[in-house]
Each structure stands twice: as C-alpha cells, then as structure tokens.
C-alpha cells in the first residue's frame, strides 16, 4: 500500500490536480487505487465530484499503476497523456467524503501505449467504468 505524500513517487501530477491518493495493491496486470473526495477538490461542485474529476481519477489511477512499476525499478514516474476514452459510463457522481475504490486492468501495452479498463466504486455502488488509452512519454 502506498499513500500520503508517497503517492508522489508514483505520479507526476501535483496539487491542485492530484486525483488519486492511495494505491492499495498492484501487480503486472492490475491495480487497486483509491481517492477520498475532499471539499476543496477542483472538480467538486455543489458537494458532488463531477464527471471530469471521475475521469481524471481513473487516468491518474492508471498513471499510478504504471508508476508502481517504474518506482520498483528506482525510476521517476513518466509523464502520461490520455489518448482516448471509450465506452465511459458515469452512473453516479460521488459526494464529498466518499471513498472511491478503483480497479485498473491492463489489457495491452505496446510501444508505450497502454490500454486499460477501469471500474470505480463507492462501497458496492459503481460510479464509473471505461476503457482508456494512455501514452507514456519516453524519457
């Protein structure tokens, strides 16, 4: 488990746009991450964590998953960019105080392009799911 400011060893983002606060577990093909929605989160509006925030949480969960690998090799996290988001359902908007739990599954990785699928829940309720293509910048 990696959390608190240690998360900065896994992702290149910094405040005010850090959208993942813990990696619960990670192996070669999947990871579980989390985020507790704070009131001052830049994507919170009227007490709800809005759609762009949910998508960014998933993207940064994927980044943290990739960063787990580079961290294990003693390297800095690589910059990553979203290339494509597909079939993203946004069933429910989390509230301030909700603890998001996200499962990231690596589907393919070819030449620095990662295709992942993700599902985000609060307790047993699904908030969002999608597929995402992420480009990792060469060092």
């Amino acid at each position: 488990m990696i959390g608190g400011t240690d998360i900065y060893q896994l992702i290149p983002q910094r405040p005010p746009i850090v959208m993942v606060d813990v990696v619960w577990s990670a192996d070669e093909t999947c990871a579980e991450t989390g985020l507790t929605v704070q009131e001052d989160n830049i994507f919170v509006r009227n007490g709800r964590f809005r759609e762009p925030g949910l998508i960014e949480h998933i993207a940064q969960s994927a980044a943290a998953f990739a960063g787990y690998g580079t961290f294990a090799r003693g390297e800095e996290p690589r910059l990553g960019y979203i290339g494509e988001i597909k079939d993203c359902t946004l069933s429910s908007l989390p509230k301030v105080g909700d603890e998001l739990k996200t499962r990231i599954q690596l589907m393919t990785e070819v030449g620095g392009i990662r295709l992942i699928s993700a599902e985000t829940k609060v307790k047993d309720a699904v908030m969002a799911s999608c597929q995402m293509k992420i480009f990792l910048k060469e060092k």
Partner: protein, 120 residues
Amino acid sequence: MRDYFSITSEKIDGFSGLFAVRLNPDCKVYEGHFPGEPVSPGVCNIEMVLACAEKVIGFPLRMIKLNRCRLTTLITPLTHADLELKIALTPKDERWVLNAEIGKGEENYMTLKAEVTKDE
C-alpha cells in the same frame, strides 16, 4: 476548473455553437500539470466542452456517458492558446447526444461524443 479558459467569441444557432476560446496560462491547474511543463489536461478540455454545450442548450448538463473522446494533440496554454470549439446537440429519447470538436483552422485536437441530460 475556474479561470481555465475564456470565450472570445461565440455564435449559437439552434442547438449548434461555434466558440473561439483562449486558454489561461496562469490557471492554477498548471502548478500541478505538470510542474515546469504546463500541459492542458484532457479532462479540463472536456469540462470546457461541457461549459460551452451548456451555453448552447441553456441549462446545466450532466454527462451520463462519454461514448468516445479522442485527444490527438498535446495542447498547452503556450503553444495552443487560441482554440475553436464546435458544439452540436441532438435530442435522443430523454437525453441529448453531444458531438464536439476542439481544433484550430484545419487542425483537429480533440473529438468527443457523449450523452448528456439536464443536471438536476
């Protein structure tokens, strides 16, 4: 994200709109995305599209589904400060289909297709 962009001109015709926007390089988001290398976050561009779509349709929107969003070009507030947004909304059952593009002239940087409803 407040202060992310400003609209420099808009042309709304029915449920379609054409917006000229300017990205703000002093937006706080760039302190963290990324330190020393400002890159416009894809999700902030999605947020910008939704804000313009709300201007076209006249009420706040809730995005239920993002069918597809392709981001083909790295946008930064320094290299791509001035952008053009095309918005088109089409009613479908009790929702609206939103088709949007961000680009400049002949160049296309992002395309998006989503389903939206009125935000309660």
